[in-house]
Amino acid sequence: MINEIILMNGYGIFVWSSFLITFFVCGVFYYKTRKTLKKYEKEFAKEIEELSIKQKKTVLENSKIASKVLSSYNKTI
């Protein structure tokens, strides 16, 4: 049964390589996209932290996104 699934009557190499390539590429692409997002979130949060207290307060009051990113960043560190 397992042999049948792996060999697929001689077509296994073609079928498995197609699936593996597809999911490998998708996995790498997911990883890279997530890494970029995290990098931007981190940089953005750091820049907010570097603002003066007054500026920081204004930014957080005006931007829901900034406060969300900052709170999730603070959770991770």
Partner: protein, 236 residues
């Protein structure tokens, strides 16, 4: 009326939808793979090599659909000047390119057992390669031109120009004598694929669409943060 379309609301929704997709994705992937690799029957003519269809066809559909979306959004953007559309097209393009390349590679692998060759300058394959080139041009313009407005205009032009290629890809198997088989699934008219093969195909398509949604949302979120980051400089 369009208050829900502001970036803050979109940002919150992105997080919710991403979490939802993450929670169901692996179960669905497992079901789809079981159907595609084990439960579906081999083809009477192509044998087990037909299973390549379950990644090749959805990848090609996504590649085509993504470019059509990019081109249509670019046209809307020319007319209505909606800034979100630029963010959407920028987020879709890499996904479309990736799936077009996957369609080309898996198609090439499928070509070896069925046609006896990995590559042939067949009308369908050539037009799909041209689609990949249009994606590359679209992304390259966005990356290489630093002035954002100019980059958006030129990349939109590339997308609109590339739209001509979409019907060529679709009808290439009917207009020219090609090795590639004609479409088995038709939106209008009866499909020539058995339900035992249609089910895994649609399942795999659904799983890959979910994957695209996940990537798209992450990319869109990145774009929103990038804009916010730029705006933050005003406070310096």
């Amino acid at each position: 009326m369009f208050n829900f379309l502001n970036n803050s609301n979109i940002f919150v929704w992105i997080e919710r939808v991403t979490n939802f997709i993450n929670s169901i994705f692996f179960v669905l992937l497992l079901v789809a793979l079981s159907f595609a690799l084990i439960l579906s029957p081999p083809d009477y003519l192509q044998g087990d090599s037909v299973r390549i269809m379950y990644v090749h066809v959805p990848a090609a559909w996504i590649g085509l659909a993504s470019f059509s979306c990019i081109a249509l959004f670019s046209i809307f953007n020319f007319i209505f000047k909606i800034k979100y559309l630029t963010l959407i097209t920028k987020s879709i393009a890499p996904i479309g390119l990736m799936f077009t390349c996957i369609a080309l590679v898996t198609g090439s692998i499928w070509g070896q057992p069925t046609w006896g060759t990995f590559w042939v300058w067949d009308a369908r394959i050539t037009s799909m390669s041209i689609l990949a080139l249009f994606y590359v041009m679209f992304i390259a313009v966005q990356k290489l031109i630093s002035e954002e407005d100019r980059a958006n205009k030129i990349s939109s032009l590339v997308a609109v120009f590339g739209l001509i290629n979409i019907p060529i890809i679709k009808y290439s198997v009917e207009w020219w004598s090609t090795l590639h088989q004609p479409a088995s699934i038709k939106i209008s008219g009866s499909s020539t694929i058995h339900s035992s093969m249609l089910t895994p195909l649609l399942l795999m398509f659904f799983v890959l669409i979910l994957y695209c949604a996940l990537i798209f949302l992450m990319k869109y979120k990145t774009e929103i943060i990038r804009i916010k980051k730029k705006n933050l400089k005003r406070y310096d």
